[in-house]
């Protein structure tokens, strides 16, 4: 090599320059990363090490009108786990299954939850028993990402008695999650699934809090995150309902274990729903934290359909309870007067065309006026009244009387009643000329193309109990909404009310439903169900009425589904409820709490 000192010195200087240059480059790269981009990397490092563990908020307590608890929260435990991948989650789940009982469905559900929200702790058991929790605490070291935390658990002290309207909560599904994308819902959370829990979800749900934990690269929980304070969950204000829990419980006991059907009691002046029950019912507490497959299939396969709300979802021909609607149409149009008779007296049936339409009482009611026809529920009288009203007025009248409208009660999934909007309906269904005015006879007595919910019939009778305007039924206090349905003279109105009071008198069809000291007014109904048992067609037995007749405080609509008896039995149930409501000592909330 050329080793002259001068040359070597020169090369040494060049090498030194290169060294300084290279190190300046490295140092400036570190300066950029550590100083200029520090904030971004610091955030990333925090995100790396901190995981947010949600602190579930208790849902709002639901009270009845007197302050008795309908839905509350009990202390419970939830078990969840932090994982880095679905594979490591599966490994952890398999390990957990060796310590506690975990069904394959629960494991699959956990993996599904993980995929929806991989950065949140994956809920494994939403409602773990104390035994499970203590076993897991013993094995805590084996499952580093395990999080056991207190999670308020929904509880309905009155179980079956309140299920019809309060509903229940459950884990949010993927589609519910998608619908509520921007409303802060997250996978694994509880959401109202039915009844008030669903209707008032936004008011009932609390605001989830956050607890920060430090995790390592494999998702193992290292400890509490120092410096980051927890965000406490927020519990919403309680929800006050108009329900009279005492009456509600009483209604449930009246149905017992054998009767099926629905009942709704409402204050005709305010629309406040005092009681609403569908029988048979179910225990909503068993839905909390995930309903078991066996219980769910038991409910689903029960022919009496406990999950189906017979008050707002069941559609039944209203039968003779509809006769008041027919009477109103006749009176309002001036076609008939309260004391008018029909051309043909009731001899137990009526010939129309070549068909014989029977009255429910084969013995016949003789020559009756409108008042008597209502008291005795004479079909033959109403056949003729219906023919006199005519098809167009009849159908239009039904629409005006809101026989096509939902009651508007504040519960989800109410069904719309069936009532033909116009004669065109029959043309479309049977073809022009394919039907006759015979349909009028059926419609006039609440049969035929007419299916109503118990809730809508209850609403209709709030108009009869007052001045002809209906009130929207409300479980939770809202703005009262009254709508005028019909306009009758005071005499006509009083006459109809007297006739309905006559129904629940020794003269009427609900004679046995009379109670001491209170005059009940109403109308029985017995509709064919189309269901036969032992060769006998079963009925839907109705009673819709109010009391006291002179100053109505309660409207009750009762429908007994597929029973071998008549509306008089439904009237009995209604009268018991009215008696219980009006005659019991004044109730104070505090006294009820201990019930």
């Amino acid at each position: 090599m050329s080793f002259h000192p001068n040359e070597v010195q020169r090369r040494g200087r060049t090498a030194s320059f290169l060294l300084v240059g290279a190190f300046t480059f490295l140092a400036s790269a570190f300066f950029r990363t550590q100083i200029l981009e520090h904030a971004a990397y610091n955030l990333q490092s925090e995100t790396n090490r901190l995981r947010e563990v949600p602190l579930p908020a208790p849902r709002a307590i639901i009270y009845d009108r007197h302050g008795a608890v309908i839905a509350e929260n009990l202390p419970g435990y939830s078990v969840s786990i932090l994982s880095r991948s679905s594979d490591s989650l599966r490994v952890a789940l398999t390990g957990l299954a060796g310590v506690i009982t975990l069904s394959p469905e629960q494991m699959e559900a956990a993996v599904r939850r993980f995929k929806q929200a991989p950065n949140r702790p994956t809920v494994i058991l939403a409602d773990a028993s104390f035994d499970v929790v203590s076993v897991l605490e013993e094995h805590r070291v084996d499952f580093p990402g395990l999080i056991i935390q207190a999670a308020p658990k929904r509880y309905y002290p009155d179980k079956e008695a309140v299920a019809s309207f309060v509903g229940y909560t459950g884990e949010i599904t993927e589609s519910e999650l998608n619908q509520r994308q921007n409303r802060g819902y997250k996978s694994g959370q509880e959401i109202g699934k039915a009844g008030l829990e669903r209707q008032y979800e936004e008011q009932l749900r609390g605001k989830e809090g956050t607890h920060f934990v430090e995790v390592d690269a494999r998702g193992r929980v290292v400890g509490e995150a120092g410096g980051r304070r927890d965000i406490a969950p927020e519990s919403p204000d309680p929800l006050y309902t108009n329900i009279d829990l005492d009456l509600q419980r009483f209604a449930a006991t009246l149905f017992g274990d054998t009767l099926q059907g629905g009942v709704m009691a409402v204050d005709p002046k305010t629309g406040e729903v005092l009681a609403i029950h569908s029988a048979p019912s179910f225990d909503p507490n068993r839905f909390i934290g995930g309903v078991s497959t066996s219980y769910y299939s038991q409910l689903r396969d029960d022919p009496r359909r406990p999950l189906y709300n017979k008050v707002i979802q069941g559609l039944y021909p209203p039968g003779s309870t509809f006769k008041l609607a027919t009477a109103i149409m006749g009176l309002e149009a001036g076609i008939v007067g309260l004391d008018d008779h029909m051309p043909q007296p009731c001899t137990g049936g009526y010939f129309f065309g070549n068909r014989y339409f029977r009255c429910w009482d084969k013995r016949g009611h003789g020559d009756v006026n409108l008042r008597q026809a209502i008291e005795k529920s004479c079909d033959v009288y109403f056949y003729q009244l219906g023919l006199r009203i005519g098809i167009n007025k009849m159908l239009a009248g039904g629409v005006t009387l809101k026989m096509r409208d939902k009651s508007g009660i504040d519960l989800p999934n109410e069904k719309q009643p069936l009532w033909p909007y116009a004669a065109e309906y029959f043309n479309k269904r049977y073809g022009p000329g394919g039907w006759s005015n015979g349909v009028l006879l059926s419609l006039a007595i609440g049969q035929g193309e007419n299916s109503q919910t118990v809730a809508n019939m209850a609403r209709f009778y709030t108009a009869l109990a007052t001045d002809g305007s209906v009130v929207r039924p409300e479980i939770v206090k809202r703005q009262t909404e009254r709508t005028r349905l019909f306009q009758l003279t005071t005499d006509q109105m009083d006459g109809l009310k007297a006739a309905m009071a006559g129904v629940v008198s020794s003269r009427g069809t609900a004679a046995s439903a009379q109670i001491q000291g209170v005059v009940i007014a109403g109308k029985t109904g017995t509709a064919q169900s189309g269901v036969f048992r032992n060769g006998v067609e079963l009925n839907h037995a109705w009673f819709t009425g109010y009391a006291p007749a002179d100053d109505p405080k309660i409207v009750v609509a009762v429908m007994l589904e597929q029973v071998p008896f008549h509306g008089s039995v439904a009237a009995l149930i209604a009268s018991k409820m009215i008696e219980h409501y009006l005659k019991r000592p004044t109730i104070q909330g505090a006294q009820l709490e201990g019930d």
Partner: protein, 416 residues
Amino acid sequence: MNRKSVSDYPLVILALLLSAYGIAVVYSAGQTDFPVPYIVGAWKRQLGWFVLSLAAGYVLFRASVRLVEWMTLYLYMLSIFLLVITLIFGSGAGTAASVKGWLTIGGVRIGQPAELAKLTVVLMLARVLAARKEAPKSLLDLWKPALVVGGPWLLIMAQPDLGTGIVFIGIFFALLYWSGVSWQLLALIASPAVSLILAFNTGLWGAWFLILIALVLYYRPYIVEGVVLVLANVAMGVIAPLLWERLAPYQQRRLLVFLDPSADPRASGYHVLQSQVAIGSGGWFGKGYTLGTQKRLAFLPAQHTDFIFSVVGEELGFIGVTIALALFLMLFMRVVRVASRANDSFGSLVAFGLGASWFVHVLVNVGMTLNLMPITGIPLPFFSYGGSFMLASWLAIGMLLRISNEGRGRADSLAV
């Protein structure tokens, strides 16, 4: 001149400071929330190796440069031999389990012959270049140096260990430069590699090709050499992309993995990101010694070996990084000084070669933690946990001190 006692204090103090800094960081690397026993105890073993290395370095310091020069050929042959048997009987370790870098006898890992080879290649190359009266002026003149580096390089690449391969290339160019080879010739030698990299951008490659032609015309090598050079560049520029594009993505990935198994793009991409996060989150002063969360929570890969500098960045911040880099820079400046003042060409070349070897390590390793360099599993001198490298580094310090002592004028009597 007392040749028995160390006189180049700056050099030895810098090396001691770097070693102490390194061992302290190796200790911190073991402080994690889920401790790995092997890494927790690493600092003690590293300390043991350090003491052993000091002794070995002192022994070499006592050996005269002439003795080392005399032994060079035998040491070189020995390291070639060790590399060959490692290739046959070697085993992998740690993050590079598929790389046969460890000499293993009866299941016991003895050491990494590549570390020895780095030293002996420097010595052998220095000997070959020092034997020439003139610096190589043509490609033909370079066949001997090329052979000296090329043999062990192929054996290393067969392990395969891309990182050490890069170090060898660095040593090769550094020593050619120090022996007086002109920069134009160095550029010509490097040109095919530049073509290979630039080939993926046609415009850049075209520009480079024009520069190359100008270089060839200016430098006027032998006709054959010139033609071979240009053809090599054309081949790299035209064929490489064509071949590359014919490969399916998974094949391309496999090729990259073949070049360096530790460089699985997905996994290493994650690791480099975590390393950048660690360093970036350190800020000015860091999160505090042993307190780095990225490290504690195992987001950092190989925090006691390849990514040890990320721990420095996270826990000691920009200040700690600057101190480490400054120590390295001062050490290298000192080495350049030793090389400049050596009293013979062999010593001068050895000194410069040893420094160049460290420099490549630092540049690639530190650059890798910020994703400025590909991940090649190359350790950081004095810092990364590992006995062989610590030993080799202190042997080099011993040799440098000796060369410094034998140099023109006493190093400590001269101004820096």
